[in-house]
């Protein structure tokens, strides 16, 4: 038994119930047992009371796309360091991509990860299982057994399945188990040797471009196969205006289709690469400002369901290279919320919409109880100061790798407390 926890005088923002109202929340035994909007809540004996005056209380963030180095590349990130970065950023649960060594394509490894994460990580780690063995794109894995072991969704992580026939088969089989089918979009031949968005800027830099069609062509195919197979399809991350239009159109005929966007594609564009800054070498690549604006509009319109960090730790050896030779990826767990709040502060998207994409929508897609502030729900909560200014400094980040695309960025909005299962896993200052 832990002490009851009362968070009072907070601005409660819960997208699941469209709530944005002052109030209090009472937590006991890892769950929310009472919620009062406006009125008082009784204080149980011995309760810890947090005065959240001037602060926002929201569901903990659920990040649908996080790469962890463990097992296999622990020098980049471990379950423990990823978990520490997560709670510092307000992420109470994250989906761990199966791109590890070995690949998460076996139920035993799912089981191992769940146990180890419970022991090591302050955040909830939800393993995703590979769609194909070894991420090879050739043979499908044991979806049913993987689900039984605890895998929350199916995905080949950063790999994109090229064979339409195999994809159809995988989607059909996944539909048996009602598992979310999360697919990364990249036509390998159109991507070719490309390393950034195709366009004038790539031409100026002398870098090979990746056309938008490398994303939209497989997306169009996937959406047709999703309709055919009735799988719960989630486009892992889209980055182009044309992709937003495709998803929007598909949603009118198929309510099982959803789509995500990386925080990088929401906040940055190809010009941020400047003179070969490899921390901005990402997959999908940073696109044009028009594409970025389309992402924001997609978020507003509901075409885009989720925002994720695409947290992908890479050590300096593979980043301190010429741009074309450097690895893709940036870390992002710790900056996810603050970066997303840029859109709120700029007036582009309201707070409820931004938080919805990082709380209840991923919870619904993954079938999780969390992601909402409701009686009986898990007490996965964050308290944050919407206006607190801070600057991202590499050395202060908790990830083992430092490849942040928000290096030295000035952000506004800071997590003050992160509560997972009723326990405070991160606290900042006297909150």
């Amino acid at each position: 038994m832990t002490r009851p926890l009362l968070i009072e005088n907070a601005r409660i923002v819960d997208p699941a119930s469209n709530t944005d109202h002052g109030g209090a929340v009472l937590v006991e035994d890892g769950r929310i047992i009472d919620l009062a909007l406006g009125g008082p809540v009784g204080v149980p004996d011995g309760a810890e009371v947090i005065d959240a005056q001037g602060l926002v209380l929201a569901p903990g963030l659920i990040d649908m796309r996080v790469f962890v180095g463990e097992p296999g590349k622990e020098y980049r990130e471990t379950l423990a360091s990823a978990g520490a970065a997560a709670v510092a950023g307000g992420v109470t649960s994250f989906v761990m991509m199966p791109d590890t060594m070995p690949v998460v394509d076996d139920g035993a490894l799912v089981d191992f990860l769940i146990r180890r994460a419970e022991a090591q990580s302050p955040a909830r780690i939800l393993p995703a299982a590979a769609i194909t063995k070894g991420l090879g794109g050739q043979e499908i894995t044991e979806f049913g057994l993987l689900k039984e072991a605890g895998a929350v969704c199916l995905t080949d992580g950063a790999s994109s399945i090229q064979s339409s026939a195999l994809l159809r088969s995988a989607m059909s089989y996944a539909a048996n188990f009602d598992m979310a089918f999360v697919h990364h979009l990249a036509d390998a031949e159109l991507v070719g040797d490309g390393v950034m968005n195709e366009g004038f800027f790539a031409t100026i830099l002398g870098l090979r471009g990746i056309p938008r069609e490398a994303e939209t062509i497989p997306l169009a195919r996937d959406l047709q196969l999703a309709a055919l197979t009735q799988v719960r399809y989630h486009a892992a991350q889209i980055s182009t205006a044309a992709s937003v239009a495709l998803v929007q159109a598909a949603k009118t005929g198929n309510s099982r289709v959803t789509a995500g966007v990386s925080i990088n594609n929401l906040c940055l564009n190809e010009n941020d690469i400047g003179r070969y800054r490899t921390y901005f070498k990402l997959n999908p690549p940073l696109r044009s400002e028009d594409d970025r604006q389309a992402m924001i509009e997609g978020l507003r319109s509901g075409a885009i369901d989720t925002i994720h960090s695409d947290h992908d730790p890479q050590d300096s050896e593979v980043k301190r290279q010429p741009f074309a030779e450097a690895s893709d990826g940036a870390i992002g767990l710790e900056t996810l919320l603050a970066a997303a709040l840029r859109l709120v502060h700029s007036g582009e998207v309201d707070l409820l919409t931004v938080l919805r994409a990082m709380t209840i929508r991923p919870a619904e897609i993954l079938g999780l109880e969390a992601g909402r502030i409701a009686r009986g729900a898990p007490a996965d909560l964050i308290v944050f100061d919407l206006d607190h200014p801070w600057q991202v400094r590499e050395r202060e980040l908790r990830s083992k790798s430092r490849n942040t695309s928000f290096e030295n960025a000035r952000l506004q909005g800071k997590v003050m407390r992160t509560i997972v299962g009723g326990k405070t896993m991160f606290g900042h200052e006297e909150v």
């Binding site: 195709e198 301190r320 290279q321 010429p322």
Partner: protein
């Protein structure tokens, strides 16, 4: 109008050159480009005299670091350095630094410890030279980085044109061939653009990069249309891997439509000159007879290459002891 200079005087006449490195033509102001061309004029004179040496780089160490082979560019820089009195060391790195388990940044640290005064670097990756320049304490000259830039090539091309035409002002220059993959084309477009010279690019669509029209150049896919009335025809080398049926169907077809032969050259001005950065694929992008004709200034480009590289070394490495 382009700024032109009369033939330059002594090296000491030039004001201090403000750049530390030469990575990209985009980093240069118009007056700096003209300054380098003027300095190169003087170096032509040095190269043509019996005693082809100055002592301006005496005591300086120049390392030519080539991650991909290029006999002619490396030799040109080597001769340039030696004519200025520098100690020149050639380092060829056959494999990529990454495959050796050493990052380019590690290589930079090692080189830095040798205390060179200037590094001349060629690398297959765009931006690699810039990355290296950030990590070393000496001047760095880009001798070609991937499909990005080859600034001394653009300078030597401009010098060659200026010497043949007397001026760059009012000329129309056509750049023909594999624009998409050419660092020579990029540097030339930037340089000629900075000097307000009219340019055209001519290539099949598969060899035109995205957004090429933003370079303020005219774009042609029909070579005969593009060559009409031009003063300079600048041909580019076609890499053999482009002619594998993916970018163009065959060398035979490429030569028919984009190779420079007498019939196509006849569409240019009667006194138009023909250029090529070399090495040439005779019978692929250029008719051998044209390459060897009096219209061709290809060998002059080689000579100007040494002069330009002497000028760049001279400009980047103050203080100097005048010979």
């Amino acid at each position: 109008m382009p700024q032109q200079s009369s033939r330059a005087g002594q090296a000491g006449d030039f004001p201090p050159f403000r750049q530390r490195h030469l990575i990209s033509i985009a980093d240069l102001q118009q007056h700096e480009i003209v300054d380098l061309l003027d300095r190169a004029e003087r170096m032509i004179d040095v190269s043509r005299q019996e005693r082809k040496s100055l002592a301006t780089l005496s005591g300086k160490t120049q390392i030519n670091l080539f991650f991909e082979p290029s006999t002619r560019t490396q030799s040109s820089f080597e001769i340039a350095g030696k004519r200025l009195g520098a100690l020149v060391v050639n380092m060829s790195v056959k494999t990529s630094s990454v495959s050796k388990g050493e990052t380019l940044v590690d290589t930079a640290a090692t080189l830095n410890a040798m205390r060179p005064d200037v590094l001349v670097v060629r690398h297959s990756a765009a931006g690699a030279v810039e990355l290296l320049a950030q990590k070393v304490g000496c001047s760095v000259i880009n001798a070609g980085d991937g499909a990005h830039e080859h600034p001394t090539q653009a300078l030597l091309d401009a010098l060659t044109i200026r010497n043949h035409k007397g001026t760059l002002a009012g000329l129309t220059i056509a750049i023909c061939g594999d624009i998409a993959n050419s660092r020579v084309a990029r540097s030339n477009l930037l340089l000629l653009g900075a000097l307000n010279v009219r340019t055209r690019v001519i290539a099949p669509r598969t060899l035109l990069p995205a957004g090429i029209e933003n370079f303020a150049t005219e774009v042609f896919t029909d070579m005969e249309e593009g060559l009409k009335g031009v003063d300079v025809v600048m041909m580019l080398r076609l890499q053999h891997e482009r002619a594998n049926g993916k970018m163009i169907p065959s060398v035979r077809e490429y030569y028919r439509f984009y190779g420079l032969d007498a019939a196509k050259l006849a569409l240019a001005k009667p006194d138009a000159i023909v250029m090529h950065p070399g090495p040439m694929n005779r019978g692929v992008e250029i008719d051998p007879a044209i390459a060897d004709s009096e219209r061709s200034v290809i060998n002059d480009q080689v000579e100007m290459g040494v002069a330009v590289r002497m000028a760049v070394l001279d400009a980047l490495l103050p203080p100097r002891n005048e010979a």
